[in-house]
Symmetry: C2
Subunit: 336 residues, 2 copies
């Protein structure tokens, strides 16, 4: 509770401690989250995803710098960066990246960068990320950039946390990447062709454009009760959002201002058309569902005697019962 | 039941139908799985994972061809390929790949290739993959190559299904890939440097070798109760398996025989040292845990009135209660 108060008062050390407690899902972290939750709900959550090699991290750095030093007449925004790395279950890879980035924006109290390594399960990392985002939101950060390294389902799920999702592509990344596009294109609110000074940029943009036309009307992916649902991203007033394609060169900052504009336009589109509240609902529901799953398992485990569980495993290994039969035995569901 | 019998009798059409039923988790699929389960447990499951652009698919194709046409004196093996594509939640990308591959090994009754698109949740794809693998195993396939596209946690989890895991790398894939290596290196039983004719192959192998030395003693990742555990891959007789590094050029078949040898040596290592049974236990337990989670959620949902759930969501959106408080309300866990 005191920790939460210090976070709300803007104390950086308290923020950092709270993030650690939340990431580790400690009782202190949970109680801080409960206290902070009513103060969250104002930040613009921007997901940044895309295949390895597209230069996502440089892009996120440039965006953060832009928000801190906007063109004359605009107010600097407070920016949090949450870098989710589900590919690195053991090692400190994420921390290394953290240090490299820190150098770039170090000393600026309006920027906070947090790297999260995977915690072994998709549910684990998704709920930890949701918690960390809530803390930043309550602490008054205006923009939260949620960067995911990798190209799997985890990234799709984590991107579904955001109000605005950037999908980053780059020229010349080979056939596998082409295949991946098909899936993640459909979660994109803004498409970024980074490394726009590399050869092949025209054909990359052309490919994106034709896939975009195929995918139209654009669908927005959401996770509901553990399943994917598709809801057209038409706003309630009938305005349709067509994902713009923005070229950038993150290494020298080209296209960043235009990209920030596209992000701001999407925010306005959501707020004007009712999409903001819809995403808020979906996001909180998906967060709840992940926590519900964890709670159900914890509760079940606390009730099933360990020897019955182990005995069932033995029968399974001797192939006397199948996995489905084992489940029927361990989770008898009586609907009375 | 008749479907299962036809699968055991080697009928290809029945096999194909059963795979579809299992993938869609139909009652027919479940009952086929129950009937087939006692007949499984003989196949060598080989996971193939690695970042996009490393040429995994070509490598898997070459391995399949090698097992079908082994050197004189060796018996051809029946090979199943399960291509898991968690990056493509909507589109038919996986099917396209399927057709391209099929052309290559078409008409050979000793090969069966199955592509699986993602089904929206990690649990979904992991349990569907486990089921499909069980069917192939019961149907008498000797080697099951489980290929995962992508580089996230999903791949780590799916790779943990296998007895032997190949991690495929290739020269010149940039920095993000380097970072990824750190995580997936630790699940590798055999490291493959594919595209060994490309520039930079020496430095890629050198990097792998130094990471391997860092990671020693090599750990094997397993999923237990939704958490990652690490168990040294020391066999019970004390023999330690050091992952060999094998160079290949999948496009022309170079190094494939040596790679197949390394896979066979790992199998012998597991069988001799007790590792085979240990992995079997871990695999079935992780399979059971995934099914348990699904069953717990289904059971809970059938018991909680929809209006209470929706009312809680509303309170959440109005930020009158936090996600953790909502869970405490919806899943009161009484330990009596």
């Amino acid at each position: 509770m005191e920790l939460a108060q210090a976070v709300l008062a803007g104390e950086r050390l308290a923020l950092s401690r709270t993030l650690t407690q939340v990431e580790n899902d400690t009782p202190e972290g949970r109680s801080a989250l409960n206290a902070l939750f009513p103060h969250a709900g104002h930040a613009h959550l921007v997901g940044v995803t895309g295949a390895p090699g597209t230069g996502k991290s440089s892009l996120v750095n440039q965006l953060a710098r832009y928000y801190r030093q906007p063109p004359a007449g605009e107010k600097p925004k407070r920016v949090a960066v949450v870098a989710v790395d589900p590919t690195s279950p053991f090692s400190g890879g994420a921390l290394l990246g953290d240090r490299i980035r820190m150098r770039d924006l170090a000393g600026d109290p309006g920027v906070f960068i947090r790297s999260m390594a995977s915690r072994g399960s998709l549910g684990g990392i998704a709920s930890a990320t949701a918690g960390v985002v809530q803390v930043f939101d309550a602490a008054g950060f205006d923009i939260i950039l949620i960067e995911t390294v990798g190209v799997g389902q985890a990234e799709v799920d984590i991107a579904s946390l955001a109000h605005t999702t950037l999908v980053v592509e780059a020229p010349g990344l080979g056939d596998d990447i082409q295949a991946i596009k098909a899936g993640i294109l459909e979660i994109a609110d803004v498409l970024v062709v980074n490394k726009a000074d590399h050869p092949g940029v025209d054909s990359t943009e052309r490919a994106l454009r034709s896939m975009l036309e195929l995918a139209h009307p654009v669908a927005h992916t959401i996770v509901h009760h553990g399943r994917l649902e598709i809801s057209a991203s038409t706003a309630t007033d009938g305005t349709l959002w067509i994902p713009p394609i923005q070229r950038t060169i993150a290494t020298d900052g080209q296209g960043i201002e235009e990209l920030a504009d596209a992000i701001a336009r999407h925010r306005t589109h959501l707020l004007d058309g009712g999409g903001w509240q819809r995403i808020e609902r979906i996001r909180l529901q998906s967060e709840l569902d992940i926590l519900l799953q964890e709670a159900l398992i914890t509760c079940w485990r606390s009730k099933v005697p360990e020897d019955i569980y182990l005995e069932t495993i033995d029968q399974l290994i001797e192939r006397r019962i199948s996995p489905h039969q084992a489940v029927e035995k361990l989770v008898p569901c009586n609907n009375q």
